[in-house]
Structure formats: structure tokens, C-alpha cells
């Protein structure tokens, strides 16, 4: 792919030099720290309220590291995914709207490399920031509580990364198809909500990508988890979405 390495380097440098570096990594780190803190302080918070809410006595088990990890995974699957969808609404279209894309694509850079570099660079950012946030979550949890099931956490985080990759690919496609970032983000949020709804139906969650977040949480809780089929369909869907994005982008006018 002509120019992929140069474009990838530019994308990574752009991430560091602009607001992008603060958004997803910021949300991820916030999730990692807040999950441990909330789990740790929740019993004390409830106790200070008298141990009951609206007259109903609430008895929480003692906080554990596994609970903190579960809280972290929950944050990833909701807040971070929402931030990802909104942040990447203009991942391709913003360059075309600003005019920088025209100047770049008039050079011998293939359109495939242009889109792939954007996808790869943000995948790198997501993977690195997730690894860092997970490490921070483990560290803060260990300081406040104890060390939990690290292998299960790693596996669950890996499954979440596959889900995030799927949504990143989806946003790349939407950003190729829809010139307005807000429209792409809106469509992305709609599809994400649809995936959550699908996840409520057992059969569909067993094989569709919507089963990935719940499978990760089940792994952390030591419950039986169906994750192979959702993982495969997620990766396959990511590939299909990216191929579609490349196909449409190769044919559109700049």
C-alpha cells in the first residue's frame, strides 16, 4: 500500500499533537481509576446513608478485586464505547471537509492506505490506552483491595478490545459514507444501542458481537461464558466493515 507507513506516522503524530490524545485515553484511565475507587468506597457510602435507601435495607458484600474489575469492564462497555463512537464520527470525513484530504490524496498515496492508516493508528491508540488503563485499574485495586483474577481480566479486556475494534471499523465506514461527523456519530450510537438490545436475546448474544461485553463480565465472575462465536463474528464483521469502507472510499469523489 503506497504511503501507508508515512500516513500512519502522521496519524500517530496527529493524535499526540491534538485533542485526540486526551479523549479516549482520558476516558479509559478515568474508568480504570474510578472503578477501583467506587468499588472500594461504595459500602462506606451506603453505610453513611444509614444502610438503607427509601426504607429498603441494602446489604452489599465486601468489595473484592473481581468486583472492581467488573465495574471497570462495565465502564468500558458503556462510557468508553460512547466516547469512541462520538470521537470517531469524523475519523475520515473531517479531513475531507477541511480540505487537507484533497491535498494529501492528490499525491501518490493510495486511498486504501489513507483509510487503513487512520484505522490502524486509532486501533493502536485504543490498544495502548486500554493496556495502560487496565494496568492502572489493577494497580489501584491492589492498593485498595487486593489482586484479583488477572487472567480473567486480561481475557475480558481482550474481548472488549475486539468489540471496540468492531465499533471503530463501523465508525470508519460511517465516516466514509456520511460527510457530517455528527450524523456518523448519531448513526453509530443507534447501531450500538441496537447491539445492546440484541444482546438481551440469548440466542443472538451467543453468536453475534453483542455477546462480547457480557461474555467478558461472565469470565470475570467465574461464570460460564460463550465468547468464541461472538469473537469470531466480531472480527469477521470488522473485516467486512473495513472492506466496505475501502470500497466506498475508492469510488467517492474527494
Amino acid at each position: 500500500m503506497s504511503g501507508l507507513r508515512t500516513m500512519l506516522a502522521k496519524e500517530l503524530a496527529e493524535t499526540v499533537h491534538t485533542w485526540r490524545i486526551w479523549v479516549l485515553p482520558g476516558f479509559l484511565l478515568f474508568s480504570g481509576v474510578s472503578a477501583a475507587l467506587v468499588t472500594y468506597f461504595m459500602p462506606a457510602l451506603l453505610e453513611s446513608l444509614g444502610g438503607e435507601t427509601a426504607g429498603i435495607a441494602i446489604a452489599l458484600p465486601d468489595p473484592t478485586a473481581a468486583m472492581a474489575y467488573t465495574e471497570y469492564l462495565g465502564n468500558l462497555s458503556e462510557l468508553v464505547i460512547l466516547a469512541l463512537v462520538i470521537a470517531y464520527g469524523g475519523i475520515v470525513s473531517s479531513e475531507l471537509r477541511s480540505g487537507t484530504g484533497a491535498l494529501t490524496l492528490a499525491k501518490p498515496l493510495s486511498r486504501t492506505a489513507f483509510v487503513t492508516a487512520k484505522w490502524l493508528s486509532q486501533l493502536c491508540v485504543i490498544v495502548l490506552a486500554t493496556a495502560l488503563a487496565t494496568a492502572v485499574c489493577v494497580g489501584v485495586t491492589a492498593a485498595l483491595l487486593s489482586t484479583g483474577p488477572l487472567a480473567a481480566l486480561a481475557a475480558a479486556t481482550g474481548l472488549w478490545l475486539a468489540f471496540a475494534t468492531l465499533l471503530l471499523s463501523l465508525m470508519v465506514l460511517l465516516s466514509v459514507l456520511l460527510p457530517a461527523p455528527a450524523a456518523a456519530s448519531g448513526a453509530g450510537i443507534g447501531i450500538y444501542i441496537a447491539l445492546i438490545v440484541i444482546g438481551q436475546f440469548g440466542r443472538l448474544a451467543d453468536w453475534s458481537p453483542s455477546g462480547l461485553p457480557s461474555a467478558g463480565i461472565a469470565l470475570l465472575q467465574g461464570l460460564p461464558a460463550v465468547w468464541v462465536a461472538p469473537l469470531i463474528t466480531s472480527l469477521a464483521a470488522s473485516a467486512v466493515l473495513m472492506l466496505a469502507a475501502l470500497w466506498f472510499f475508492a469510488r467517492r469523489e474527494i
Partner: protein, 466 residues
């Protein structure tokens, strides 16, 4: 496992109060900013979406808006140009600078004709280095090692035109932006692509640059299908009418990025960057591109278009929004490239075409209405010359001129006399005294004028629009 310490209710309330205060503060900050900020400075341009997000997504909504939703438009920095002293180092292999300096003009070069000559000289040196060093791309290698303004390397003339368009149509939503456009641009020329706004100039350049495709017809660049693949695009340089750059880069970083896309690396790339920064008068500018003025961006745009020493340089209205000094500098750059590469230069400014172009095509409503060398165009269209003649009785002279074989047209002059368009100037000059004597009118003034390009342009485009 460590036991969580019980929290005192007072501290808890204080903590909650801080959290609520932060949340409310963020919300108010976001809402006030949202109301005051124009939609054009908001990501996505949708205020309602950001309003809903800020109000209904607790804490994260306002944070998201304040970090992602706001676009900061950087005010352009003052025009930064090269001071007259000390002279910046010449590009490698470009020889020593010429000229004795003199007082600096605001635009950077010394005042007066000498200043312009010196400014033009540094442009010429940079262009000579670029095409000398990259001579293999356009013709015989020729390094500019001695002398200030070495003669351009000869272009290897090919039988294939640099640009060839045959019956190109481009339709947007049912409206034809190009309607059977046909033209041919010889390699090595500075080609003026002239037309009124909306004539199809930008669409044509976008097709040649590979950013758009013709609906029908054939568009070829240096013998290859326009924009078909990277190999074709590697031969061209392109400057759009409003160039947009990555604001977080500086000029050298952008040129490095551009050069690497053309496969340039190492010392070869760095020497070209140095030469082009001098060409664009940006060698001493360290600020990021987001702070550049329009003129600086335009000069950087030309520099990036030249990074590959292209065999075809496509410039889309490069002077349209520049002040007189910036315009002169851009035209100097184009003039310095004469004989080194083919320049395809779209504009609606007739004076620019007359100044730097040797061949011109006039386009109107998506079709070429005339294509020729500028002199040939004047000759072909309205005859060679026009005569402005003032007499004591213009009406009687106009009657007497009817039927003269050398006369093409008669029109009233601003002075009150007549403007005669003539096919054969010599015949007119011989016959006019006899006509004046026969009509019995007294000659007060006789002036010979060449037809300007503007006369030709208005004649051609005006006729079609009438």
C-alpha cells in the same frame, strides 16, 4: 482484604457537594460556551446535539463538549517574510546570492526594482536547484552550482501533451459543470486556463489531480489516464484554490510529510525542503501552520506542490486572494518555473495570464471557447490592432469608413472619437489620410493600440453570455 474506613457524614456531604459543584460548574461552562460559540466553530456544527449531550450525559457530556466539541480557530499570525539581512543560506548547490541588498521592503526584499529583482532571484535559484537536482525528472540533469540565475534545464519535449482532454463531461446532480471540454497542453508551457467564476476550471483541475472522475470523455496526464494510480499522481504537483494543511505541523514538517509520500528520503529530501522553504520565504518561520496568513499558506501550497519536482504543476487560482506583494511573489515563482516544467494555471485574473503564461485556453460554461498562444489569440480573434482616432466630426468619418476592406468594426471611443478594429494595420495607415481628406474632417489624434487579453476575453465570453 483491607476494610474500607467508615466515612463521617459531614465529610461525605462535603465530598458530594464538591462533586455536585464540579458537575454544575462544568455544565454551566459548557452551556454558556455553547450558546456564545458560532456553530461553525463547533465540531459537527450541530448545537442541539451537543446541548442534549451536555445536559443528559452527566459530567461526561460537558467534558466531551469542552474537549472535543469546540474548535479553536487560530488567528493568523502577522505575515512573516524573509528579512533582507542576513541573507538566508542558499539551498545546497544553488550558488551564492546575488544583489547588493538595499533597504528592506515590508515584503522582505529590498525596495524598488532591485528589491523585486533580488526576490525574483532567490525564487529562480530555488527553482533552478530543484529542477537541476531533479533534472532526471524533466530533462537533462543540470545542477545550479555557479551563477545566480542559471538558465533552465531544457525540457525533454515529448510528442505526448502534458494534458489532453477529449470531450470531457462532468455532471453534478443533473447540471453539467464540464460540457465536452477538449484541450491540449504542450509539455513545457506555462498554460493559462482562463474563465469566469463557475466556468468549470476547478472541476477540470480536480479531474487532472485524480480527485474527481469525468462522467464521460477522456482525461490524460502525460500520456496516462488522469488519477488512475499513484504512478500518474507521482508526476504532478497540485495546489487547490484554498489549500488546507495540518495546522499542528510547521512548514518543514509538512514538506517532509509530502516528500515521503513521493518516496523521497534522507539528504535528498532535506535539501529539497531547504530549497523550497527558501522559495516560499518560510525558511525562518517556526510557528505552526495554524498561525499562518493566507499568503504564507499559498506560498507553502506552491512549495508542497513542487516537492517532487513535478513534470506537471496544477495551480488552481493561486493568486486570487493575495495582496499585491503576495501575488507578485507567486507569479515570480511561476515565472521561474518556465522551461523547467509544465504549469497549468487556472485563473480569472487576466493580468496574471498576460504576465506569466505563453499559451491560454478560455473556458466558459464547461467548454473551451478558444485556445492559442496569447499573441495568436489576439490576432485570430479581432485582428491585429485597433486605432483610436479623434476628429472634429466623428459621424461623418464613420460614414466615410463604410466599405473599407481593412476595417473590421467601428465603435465610439471614450474620448468622443472612434475606435477602429482593423485586420491590416499597414493598409489602414495608408488609406486613412485619403478617407479623412475625402470626408473633409480634421484629424486631432491618432493612436494605435494592441488588443488586450481582456478585450479578447470579454469579446468571447460576453458573446456567449449575451
Amino acid at each position: 482484604m483491607t476494610e474500607a474506613p467508615p466515612l463521617d457524614s459531614v465529610w461525605l456531604i462535603a465530598l458530594l457537594a464538591v462533586v455536585v459543584a464540579v458537575e454544575l460548574g462544568l455544565l454551566i461552562w459548557a452551556l454558556v460556551d455553547l450558546v456564545r460559540r458560532p456553530a461553525t466553530q463547533i465540531t459537527g456544527g450541530n448545537k442541539i446535539l451537543w446541548l442534549l449531550l451536555s445536559v443528559f450525559v452527566q459530567v461526561l457530556g460537558p467534558i466531551l463538549y469542552l474537549t472535543v466539541g469546540r474548535r479553536r480557530d487560530v488567528e493568523p499570525a502577522e505575515e512573516v517574510r524573509r528579512p533582507s539581512a542576513p541573507e538566508p543560506p542558499p539551498p545546497p548547490g544553488a550558488g551564492s546570492p546575488s544583489g547588493a541588498g538595499g533597504p528592506a521592503r515590508p515584503g522582505g526584499a529590498p525596495a524598488g526594482t532591485g528589491g523585486h529583482a533580488q526576490a525574483a532571484s532567490h525564487v529562480t535559484r530555488a527553482a533552478a536547484f530543484l529542477y537541476g537536482e531533479a533534472g532526471d525528472a524533466v530533462g537533462e540533469p543540470r545542477a545550479a552550482r555557479d551563477g545566480d540565475a542559471p538558465a533552465p534545464a531544457p525540457i525533454r519535449r515529448l510528442t505526448t501533451p502534458a494534458v489532453e482532454l477529449a470531450g470531457v463531461r462532468k455532471v453534478f446532480k443533473g447540471a453539467a459543470a464540464l460540457d465536452g471540454l477538449t484541450l491540449s497542453v504542450p509539455e513545457g508551457s506555462v498554460f493559462g486556463f482562463l474563465g469566469p467564476n463557475g466556468a468549470g476550471k476547478t472541476t477540470t483541475l480536480r479531474i487532472l489531480a485524480g480527485l474527481a472522475r469525468p462522467t464521460s470523455g477522456d482525461a490524460r496526464v502525460l500520456g496516462h489516464e488522469a488519477g488512475a494510480d499513484g504512478r500518474t499522481r507521482a508526476l504532478i504537483g497540485y495546489l487547490p484554490d484554498v489549500p488546507a494543511f495540518y495546522k499542528w505541523m510547521n512548514a518543514a514538517e509538512y514538506l517532509r510529510f509530502s516528500g515521503r509520500l513521493f518516496g523521497l528520503e534522507g539528504a535528498r529530501l532535506e535539501s529539497r525542503i531547504a530549497a523550497l522553504l527558501e522559495l516560499a520565504d518560510l525558511g525562518r518561520v517556526t510557528t505552526r501552520i495554524g498561525g499562518y496568513s493566507r499568503g504564507m499558506k499559498q506560498r507553502l501550497g506552491i512549495a508542497q506542490a513542487l516537492i517532487n519536482a513535478p513534470r506537471l504543476l496544477l495551480l488552481d487560482e493561486p493568486t486570487s486572494a493575495l495582496d499585491p506583494i503576495g501575488r507578485r511573489e507567486v507569479l515570480d515563482m511561476v515565472a521561474a518555473l518556465r522551461g523547467r516544467t509544465t504549469v497549468f494555471f487556472s485563473t480569472h485574473i487576466l493580468a496574471d495570464v498576460e504576465r506569466v503564461c505563453d499559451t491560454v485556453a478560455i473556458i466558459d460554461r464547461g467548454r473551451v471557447v478558444e485556445q492559442a498562444a496569447i499573441d495568436e489569440l489576439r490576432r485570430r480573434r479581432h485582428g491585429l490592432n485597433r486605432l483610436v482616432i479623434d476628429v472634429d466630426d466623428p459621424g461623418r468619418l464613420a460614414d466615410a469608413l463604410v466599405g473599407q476592406p481593412w476595417l473590421r468594426a467601428v465603435a465610439p471611443a471614450e474620448s468622443g472619437g472612434l475606435v477602429l478594429s482593423v485586420d491590416d494595420l499597414a493598409a489602414a495607415q495608408r488609406a486613412l489620410p485619403h478617407v479623412l481628406a475625402a470626408a473633409g474632417v480634421a484629424l486631432e489624434r491618432l493612436e494605435t493600440n494592441e488588443l488586450s487579453l481582456e478585450d479578447v476575453f470579454v469579446g468571447l465570453v460576453g458573446e456567449r453570455q449575451a
